[in-house]
Symmetry: C2
Subunit: 271 residues, 2 copies
């Protein structure tokens, strides 16, 4: 998907909501456990109930890998269902991959060719030749970790590297990577006060912002610093939406939570 | 597996060789492509021919994920075969994972419980709460990226962070993580001259050293700086061993290459 198509979808839906599909068999409604593929059934119901409110879906790959081949099958069915039924939606494999060049190419093939995601999250530690293989695919995107939402972000990301925090070095340096127009960045909502400084370095790039909701991030704050001319934000909520209810009404409850966020986004876009 | 068991195996085999299973369908012998599971058949033959020469096997997870469910099945069969037939061998899931705490826990479950690997490689960028979940499993190990073998390592890893290179900060800071006795570190053989400095910070830890062979690293150099009282090194070779021949004699050719390295290691251990 092109960035322009993503922006058009945001305007059409008046939403820049991304729904995180971190599906844990211990947290989904008990009645689904009798299904042949509980994870896929859960995802399908959530997607069907929320696709008009969200512009992106982000399966968290760890939650599928943890169930081995069964989990990988649920993931494949989920992305196939999304692409077949809601092709306008932007899809993110939240996988945090990154390795030497020939290996990153294999990860890119896994997520862009085998599974046909639009994007994948990538860790920057190994540098240029670990990231560029993900940028070599037309209309596909690498979403590079910059400043993450967790406490451990302060271990290294905010440390001063030759006059500038490491996450700012990552932003600066990555701008020179080949096909860097296919880069987006992960910036945690719990660090909203940093977004102004981030926008000075990458004014035009899309930011994927996790941490609104369960992790405590504030939507208004993020938007104040993060919105740009073409919106430039994807706000992710996972647990706050998908686990809104653990009863038979879970999809309806998820849609209500997604609707609340979409309404707030619509108001922000209008103001 | 405990570190003591790994050290005992090294002494018994007079080898600290790790064989990387980066299995690419475009590179394995053509006659295997008629098999039902060419990747597993290839791995099985390589393992059977080399298990007395190597102390560890390291499937590179990207090469399995790139083939989707089929690849994941080959991976599962490979680790099951290793654990059933050569339980003395140390197994490494080269996956370079790392995410916020609850997600890292899911990755740890995937590799330690579902697939029963002894260890997994982990990226440090997200800090403490992204690494510690991997350290919470008894007799399992997280192998943290410190200084990698690729050119991109110079993008960030060697940059000065508050008076010290980033990779040294990673070594220092990670020593304070809970259960840090379960940590090992990735240090590229192409950066052998750095290993002396690394040993000053982590004298006792095992280092997983890729980059000998195809990537140009030198075994003697690595050992000169890296060996410690309990050996403390796992030297990985992937392409140089497993693709020594693309004919029907591939397993024999791989064993010959492995034997060359094992002999060199035996001489080093004796001197």
């Amino acid at each position: 998907m092109t960035t322009q198509e993503l922006v058009a979808q945001i305007h059409a839906k008046q939403s820049f909501l991304c729904i995180g599909l971190d599906v844990d068999l211990n947290k989904i409604p008990k009645h689904l456990l009798d299904e042949k593929d509980p994870i896929f059934e859960f995802n399908k119901a959530i997607i069907d109930a929320t696709h008009h409110l969200a512009v992106a879906y982000k399966p968290n790959i760890a939650f599928y890998e943890a169930y081995g081949i069964k989990g990988w099958k649920s993931l494949e069915k989920t992305i196939t269902y999304l692409n077949a039924n809601y092709p306008e939606v932007f899809t993110i494999a939240d996988a945090k991959r990154g390795d030497i060049g020939n290996t990153s190419t294999m990860y890119a093939k896994a997520f862009f060719e085998d599974l046909e995601f639009d994007s994948v999250t990538v860790a920057p530690y190994m540098g240029k030749d670990s990231v560029e293989p993900f940028l070599a695919f037309e209309n596909k995107h690498a979403i590079l970790l910059a400043l993450t939402s967790n406490q451990g972000a302060f271990d290294f990301q905010t440390k001063n590297v030759e006059g500038k925090e490491l996450y700012k070095q990552v932003l600066e340096v990555s701008k020179s990577y080949k096909n860097s127009e296919n880069l987006m960045y992960v910036v945690g909502a719990t660090k909203a006060e940093f977004i102004g400084g981030i926008r000075k370095i990458i004014p035009d790039s899309f930011l994927l912002v996790p941490g609104v909701g369960a992790q405590g991030g504030n939507l208004q704050e993020v938007c104040r610093y993060g919105l740009n001319d073409q919106i430039g934000l994807l706000i992710n909520s996972s647990r706050g939406i998908i686990y809104a209810s653990d009863g038979v009404d879970y999809a309806k409850a998820a849609a209500e939570k997604a609707f609340e966020l979409q309404k707030q986004m619509e108001n922000i876009l209008k103001s």
